[in-house]
Symmetry: C2
Subunit: 343 residues, 2 copies
């Protein structure tokens, strides 16, 4: 880095910000010592540490993590991909993830794939270009092209909100099949005999729906009517779904909804029509969103611990990034049916 005569030197502007070199110079140490003072203070003498922190305070230095990431091949960036952020389902997971990562000095990048997987590939490319230390997917990785890219990039991946026998890498989720079956058993156990379901048209909801139907049939029901609505689900979808159900299967005495919002829609429509819940129709939701307990009647629903999912995902990624061995790569957080008044 020997500089030539200024007159013939090539100049580059730089960002103008305070650099670690500036700090080191002010502290009277070598840049690397300043670096160590910030990253591994235990490797530095108390004296040097003090000089450096003083210099940092005096200059208002903020370390450039782009440069650090480039040099160390650790960006401390983690990407999360959700179908859409406006469905409230993944919110708690994203929130827990953001917090757990922030505590450990990592930052979350958010990507939305849409429910149709079409943007997934472009998104993966955008993400991989940022060299994140990990990627958290909601759902499992679908497209072969996406799988290939992730594999090639060798970035730790956590799939969430699902369970598959063939995880891509790490996995935090629960069994949608078990959940669907459990709800059917629950309703049958409460004496309901004409089960129906309303589900968003996405893969996981469909899997719960099929298990629900299979369990009901196994218990002797001939027909389990299903209404599918586009994902993400809305309250209005629930309202019109109940209307449809009432028309086509008037004997229905229990409805399993693929989201709490859908369940609220069912209950709203029931209320508008003077149909008693749970008297005439039992309603079960999915998700146990924060408001479920406070509806009238309080909503019986399937509780998924989205916060635990987010925290475990963060743990997985950080463990990998810091070189710890991750033995158990699959965590089943399970689910529970929260019995309230609507069923």
């Amino acid at each position: 880095m020997k500089r030539r005569n200024p007159s013939q030197r090539r100049t580059r502007k730089g960002s103008g910000a305070v650099t670690l070199h500036d700090v080191a110079k002010l502290a009277g140490v070598a840049p690397i010592t300043a670096s160590r003072a910030l990253n591994t203070p235990e490797q530095v003498s108390a004296e040097a540490l003090k000089k450096v922190s003083d210099a940092v305070a005096r200059t208002g230095y903020v370390r450039n993590r782009l440069a650090g990431g480039l040099a160390s091949a650790r960006s401390r960036l983690v990407a999360a991909v959700v179908p859409t952020i406006s469905g409230p389902v993944f919110l708690r997971t994203v929130q827990a993830l953001t917090e757990a990562l922030a505590e450990r000095g990592y930052q979350l990048m958010l990507g939305q794939s849409g429910y149709d997987n079409s943007r997934e590939d472009a998104l993966i490319e955008a993400i991989v270009g940022r060299r994140p230390d990990g990627i958290v997917l909601t759902g499992i990785m679908h497209t072969p092209e996406g799988r290939r890219r992730l594999l090639a990039a060798a970035i730790p991946v956590v799939e969430t909100w699902d369970l598959t026998p063939t995880p891509f890498d790490m996995l935090v989720g629960f069994s949608h099949v078990d959940a669907g079956r459990a709800v059917a058993d629950f309703l049958l156990g409460r004496g309901r005999r004409q089960l129906a379901l309303v589900a968003g048209d996405d893969e996981r909801a469909r899997r719960r729906a099929h298990a629900f139907q299979a369990a009901a049939r196994a218990a002797g029901m001939r027909d389990v009517p299903a209404v599918y609505v586009p994902a993400p689900t809305t309250l209005n979808h629930g309202r019109s779904a109940l209307a449809e159900l009432l028309r086509t299967s008037p004997g229905t005495d229990a409805v399993f909804c693929s989201s709490d919002l859908l369940a609220l829609g069912i209950m709203t429509e029931a209320q508008a029509r003077g149909i008693a819940v749970p008297g005439q129709i039992a309603v079960v939701g999915f998700g146990d969103l924060e408001y479920a307990a406070d509806l009238h009647p309080a909503l019986t629903t399937v509780r998924i611990d989205g916060t635990a999912i987010g925290r475990q995902a963060a743990q997985f990624i950080v463990d990998r990034a810091e070189g710890r061995r991750v033995d158990k790569r699959v965590v089943d957080v399970g689910f529970s049916i929260v019995e309230r008044d609507s069923a």
Copy 2:
């Protein structure tokens, strides 16, 4: 970059990934030409372009944007700070922002500040370290330390969801004072005489609340009871707030809520108690969340175009990042009262 004798050469592992150098070598051009082929294809001959894209395809190259960002001082990263992602209010803004940025090759980093501003400083430091091309704040910048840091970092800032006479940099929002007043006028115009309000305990909601009270008083009301609940607001807060209101101000005939969720809570409690909405009590929400129109009764509420806010914020940041002049730095997206059945 002359290499010494291999035996005494220092080696560094590198990430092992395909680099632009590899691509350039395979394409038979200089690295910078490959770089230009990817970034500014119009500056490159068709022939070179083709050679490069072939090489990219053959190698599965994904550009390293950390390195690019470091070299060009443009990270193509944008940070968004929300109080918490699990309040549904900012969701549409964050969604629109994410999409609008992704379309233009920028990625969103998400940060949660909490409602108490205590984490804001630490968050700003974490964000600035990533050298984003812009920062989108929901609400306005509060702490002096935060302001100083942002100022020092010279990163474009967009404040959203609020209007202030002294914007930090750029601003997309609306007047909370006008909104509060408008709702009071609306209710008074509908013949309501005993206005009350329920509001989350955050600054913006409080500003709306005060304007609402002032307008009601200006119209002759002596007392405008207010119930404040902790932010973020929940359905249950709404239920207990109505209970409180009924106890302390039994004559209340209209309630302005600081969120649609609160309004749903009010309506739920009213329903549970057999109180007619809007017959006995009119309810007005805030936000016009997606489900507001489908409630029973359909919720009258203040509509804020969160999507427009997000898109405009993205536009501001990208314009700045790409060196375009931004003349109008403040955009008022306004609000509207959506008249439905609840008031």
